[in-house]
């Protein structure tokens, strides 16, 4: 399948990535090459096979409903690029 630079732009926007012009055309060619190879899966008949997301049967995992302290806020904020002591700071998102 042909992968155009427009398609690369579309998935880049979904993935919150911004490729430079020369990177975009190289990426289009690389993705096309890789996806072309992946099309070999079409050679395996799977029409009556259910897709398998979990390798072992999924079961509901519950634990006792016991209150426990959360992680300390100051400790969590200490790893943030721009904290203010109470929250993570970001540019204004809602007017």
């Amino acid at each position: 399948m042909k992968i155009t630079e427009e398609m690369v732009d579309y998935v880049s926007a979904l993935a919150r990535l911004k490729l430079a012009d020369e990177e975009r055309s190289a990426m289009a060619a690389e993705l096309e090459h890789i996806l072309e190879y992946m099309e070999m899966l079409g050679g395996l008949d799977t029409h009556d096979i259910a897709p398998m997301s979990h390798i072992f049967p999924v079961r509901n995992v519950l634990r006792a409903d016991v209150a426990a302290p959360s992680m300390d806020r100051a400790v969590l904020l200490s790893g943030a690029p721009v904290p203010d002591g109470e929250a993570f700071l970001v540019p204004k998102a809602v007017d």
């Binding site: 998935v11 911004k18 943030a80």
Partner: protein, 481 residues
């Protein structure tokens, strides 16, 4: 004992000398530190070297207590920089330990620091690291394999006696093969993933790299078992793998999938792996060849599923909660884009884009859903194989370690190198890589033993039996400094 002769011991041998009082914990740590200091500049195995306070460990805590080891840098260690070898995590110090780290610390593991790897474990040569490539101790012009290249090279070079790494599509087994050491990926769910920074959650699993299968058994005894903080972990009893380890393979049936010995496999690798089958026969195993055609679809199915999951898992790296943030952004979306574009390396971006594509409207059924169906086919093929066999024997890699730089120019070629390892992750099975010979250039060759789900004991028995009759795992490279 001289420091260098200490470095040649297995982890269990060193533990024995610590318990007997023949070697002190300080001497063991100093031997590791000296070896790291001498070889780090050449091999680039560590991102963050660290060292313990003394006394480091209670020697009665476990059979490996007091033995210096190290963690791959995608495993969370409280207060110790954890980078995933990526610029985007910056100097991130996790506020908690991974469950595996907690358990190993309680068992007396002595950490020497954090090991280099491919960025976010995405790569097969440990060259995509923001911190520079790892070099193979057997030939420093070659790659150590990946993504756990730092872990395998550190053990091979005698810097530490064992390492904890992760395996999503071969990231423990493949570098172990390229570096001539033993690596084990347990059954999916056998070890808690809590604190392992996720690449592809349905495939990721933690495991050991060490000199011997017995060392791996001792490490897994500590790591395995259910964890309330990982809902996919399996509620299995604490391990008795080491205590039950047997070199007697009488009555064990070993299958060799003919489809793993076809086109694309190097002749020297093929001969060494088939010679390993003869050693297993000598220990009593019955060996026969059979067909496993489904494995030829494993690489494309694996890369679709792994990239899809990665594109979702890596969305959490956005310059807000931890790590590095770009400068000069405008609005919030721009902050995300600038940080992710500047913080991720090329291979990570490629896989995020590939994963985003296969999940996007219009392509989901043709790629992602199809890959999940192929996964079911592969799982069924392994289930059928294990009705006839207790173990499967395959190569780990199509060839020995590539030259540095050789793989980066052609990503698809690099992905195809994972042909023998990825099906094991898709099927959730345990598998070990064990050194089984050397090629004409003196580079190590690995053989893979695959077991049925929760068949860790069978896998380790097979590798242990092989190592009782061979000495490939005892050989050490002379690192050219």
């Amino acid at each position: 004992m001289t420091m260098m002769s200490l470095c040649r011991l297995t982890a269990l041998e060193l533990a024995g000398k610590l318990c007997a009082g023949e070697v002190t914990q300080r001497e063991a740590v100093e031997a590791a530190s000296a070896r790291i200091a001498a070889t780090q500049g050449t091999l680039n195995t560590f991102i963050t070297p660290d060292g313990p306070a003394f006394p480091a460990a209670d020697l009665s805590a476990s059979p490996l207590a007091g033995v210096p080891m190290a963690y791959k840098d995608n495993i969370s260690t409280r207060g110790v920089k954890t980078t995933c070898a990526s610029k985007i995590l910056g100097d991130f110090q996790p506020p908690y330990d991974a469950t595996a780290v907690e358990r190993l610390s309680a068992a007396g593991a002595v950490s020497m620091g954090k090991l280099n790897m491919d960025e976010f474990a995405m790569g097969s040569t440990s060259e995509t690291s923001w911190y520079g490539s790892v070099r193979n101790p057997w030939d420093t012009g070659r790659a150590a394999g990946g993504s756990s290249g730092g872990a395998a090279a550190a053990v091979a070079a005698g810097q530490v006696w064992y390492a904890i790494a992760s395996d999503t599509g071969g990231s423990i087994r493949q570098p172990a093969a390229h570096c001539g050491v033993t690596g084990m990926k347990p059954t999916y769910g056998a070890v808690s993933r809590y604190g392992l920074i996720a690449y592809a959650s349905s495939l990721d699993q933690l495991g050991p790299i060490a000199r011997s299968a017995a060392d791996c058994a001792a490490v897994l005894d500590v790591m395995m078992g259910g964890d309330p903080r990982d809902g996919t972990s399996l509620d299995i009893p604490a391990g008795k793998l080491l205590a039950s380890l047997s070199g007697d393979l009488r009555g064990r049936r070993v299958g060799i999938p003919a489809d793993c010995f076809g086109d694309g496999l190097d002749g020297e690798v093929s001969r060494a792996v088939l010679a390993a089958a003869e050693v297993l026969k000598g220990r009593g195993a019955q060996v026969e060849t059979f067909a496993l055609p489904a494995v030829r679809y494993a690489v494309p199915a694996y890369y679709i599923i792994a990239c899809a999951e990665a594109s979702s898992n890596l969305s959490r790296f956005d310059g807000v909660k931890y790590g590095w943030r770009a400068e000069g952004y405008g609005d919030l979306n721009d902050l995300y884009c600038a940080t992710r574009t500047g913080g991720f390396g090329r291979e990570v971006k490629r896989r995020i884009l590939l994963g985003t594509f296969v999940l996007s409207a219009g392509y989901y059924d043709a790629y992602y859903k199809k890959a999940l169906q192929v996964k079911a086919v592969i799982k069924r093929a392994f289930d059928e194989a294990f009705e006839k066999y207790d173990l499967l024997l395959t190569p780990v890699t199509p060839a020995t370690a590539p030259r540095l730089g050789e793989s980066l120019s052609d990503p698809l070629k690099m992905y195809l190198g994972d042909v023998y390892t990825v099906s094991v992750n898709l099927a959730g099975l345990p598998a070990a890589s064990m050194p089984c010979g050397f090629d004409a250039q003196g580079l190590p060759i690995g053989a893979q033993l695959i077991g049925p789900a929760l068949g860790e004991q069978a896998v380790l028995d097979g590798a242990h039996a092989f190592q009782l009759d061979t000495d490939y795992h005892r050989r050490m490279p002379e690192v050219t400094l």
